[in-house]
Symmetry: C2
Subunit: 346 residues, 2 copies
């Protein structure tokens, strides 16, 4: 249990009887080392258990092979899966991840976390915080002065930003058209917090599909939209509210699975049978959704890929030589998973 001062490149050099530079060349697979020397040094490296000090390397090279991730809401299904996708791809491309989590996205935009990441010289940043309320303006101003590339996840795309996002608008349309095809007309929604961009997009998608179908007036649509907070309880309350306003409600599209669970629960309590009296669709396809009563029709987002694409995009930005390439906006599509909560036998 000695302090065990770690082996440096000089130790290797000394043992091998060469200069540190030569060892460095072997480490970085440079061509100008004889095969014999290379093998010998490799052997010594292994023997001594030497591992290069990445900190020292970063200092001189000016890059750290580290990506800063600013995230929020690991308690939710989406963010935690997205982070998994980020880690997987980063690991594969040889990046390490410096993780910062936002505690409360309503009171802080997380800009305070940026200096810390920058001091640690991350090569780039992935911003995986849901876009909420009016943070955007302040954030964008800050971001403009940041010396490393940033990729945003699930933020309203703009031509001057690099963004990877789920196409929530079209995902919602898919769900609504599915319900319409099943013969449901009065389709209400329980949204997420209206400050969240993702929720607003889904709502816009619902509205667009409903208008296209043309069965209901704009006024009627207003009556069919209530706000939730992503938690089951708000699904419960939401359904009650919707039914109070529209006793003839035929279907509910909840903007995540936990709220859909609340809807199912309350529907049961009120004696509305799903799907015959009331269809229910969720959003997320959590592992539990298939075991709700009845099994829940829901939208499966490519979350692992979402994270992966963000890393790939960042990697492209980091490796493309000096070109101030035009920012990319990447959309990913969700898949509707149809289960019995929306298949009427009428």
């Amino acid at each position: 249990m000695k302090p065990k001062k770690s082996v440096t490149i000089k130790d290797v050099a000394r043992v091998a009887g060469v200069s540190a530079q030569t060892v460095s060349r072997v480490l970085n697979d440079r061509p100008d080392v004889s095969d014999e020397t290379r093998q010998r040094i490799r052997g010594i490296i292994h023997e001594l258990g030497y591992a290069p000090n990445i900190i020292a390397r970063s200092l001189i090279q000016g890059r750290s092979n580290t990506i800063g991730v600013v995230g929020y809401g690991l308690g939710y299904y989406g963010p935690s899966r997205t982070l998994t996708g980020i880690e997987r791809q980063a690991n594969q491309l040889g990046y390490s991840l410096l993780l910062s989590l936002l505690r409360d996205p309503d009171t802080s935009t997380g800009e305070s976390l940026l200096p810390n990441l920058l001091m640690r010289k991350v090569d780039g940043i992935i911003w995986a915080v849901p876009e909420i309320g009016e943070h955007r303006a302040a954030l964008l101003e800050t971001v403009r002065n940041i010396p490393v590339p940033i990729v945003f996840i699930n933020m309203e795309p703009r031509p001057d930003l690099n963004v990877v996002a789920i196409d929530n608008f079209n995902a919602a349309r898919k769900a609504v058209f599915h319900l319409l095809e099943q013969g449901y007309r009065k389709i209400g929604v329980i949204t997420g917090p209206p400050t969240w961009w993702e929720s607003r997009q889904r709502e816009a998608g619902w509205r667009s599909a409903m208008q296209e179908a043309g069965f209901l007036s704009a006024h009627e649509l207003e009556q069919l939209c209530v706000a939730g907070d992503w938690y089951p309880e708000s699904g419960s309350r939401g359904l009650e509210e919707l039914l109070t306003r529209n006793p003839s409600l035929e279907a509910v599209f909840a903007f995540n699975d936990p709220m859909a669970l609340g809807v199912l629960k309350t529907a049961q309590r009120l004696g509305r049978r799903v799907p015959d009296d009331l269809a229910v669709v969720g959003f997320d396809d959590t592992p539990e959704a298939d075991y709700f009563s009845p099994p829940l029709t829901t939208l499966r987002q490519p979350l692992i890929e979402l994270g992966g694409q963000a890393v790939q995009l960042l990697h492209r930005l980091l490796t493309t030589p000096e070109s101030p390439s035009t920012p990319e906006q990447i959309w990913l599509q969700s898949e509707l998973v149809v289960r019995s909560s929306s298949i009427s036998s009428r």
Copy 2:
């Protein structure tokens, strides 16, 4: 959009007309700087927007204020909340987090991730991978040669390791005694994968409480124990299996909430009313548990605290001067949350 070579300590020094060392002293709040100079330098730092390069600092100080976290299974409720707790406490104590996730804990112990963390000179490591199967031996051997302190989360405690763990044994006993008090006698369990330590501990707790109660023989207990895989589907199958073996089954203790959901679902399908014909208890207290039908009695683990305690312990190890202090083993208790799935009206 200039490349904007970043400001260094020398730039600050030059503008202030002092040496870099003096600026360094101001940065580190050393006493030997006059108040006047200190204020002036502070002003210039702010003016220039200077931020110290932590990499350079780490290089000479030999510490990085970074904690390496090896985790697994962000898709599960437990691990993702634990990580949240880790990040929160680390952030508070001024550490950054270097995150590595294990892809498949069955085929790899994650030792391959260690060299990477060590090359990046993390000050310490938090091992937040569930203990599975026979990995332990190999892992411990590797760990012994690691030059930084490690704290293990939810691993079988041993006197020579620093461990923070949930007391799964007593948590399970709580659940079983609760069921016994409610008058249930034939209490079956659906475990997690038997290779997981957490699952084995819960099983041992169940067994211990059942033996203490003394209503059933050892043979009968065997018939009341089936293995699941943490997913709802295995809860479904588990219940069927239990009922086949024990038609007079009175209660089921599933070792996590998703499996309990599967149990509820299948109970309903088979026409067993919960809790009157069959009591159900879960483990985790996910936000959804209160919205199951009926609401689920379950165990709430202090997961945020689990992560927090791990960081605090590591911090203690890092700041205690040189003492090869004896390792600590910290147990955290879970709380039984009683809901209607286990409250019989009989």
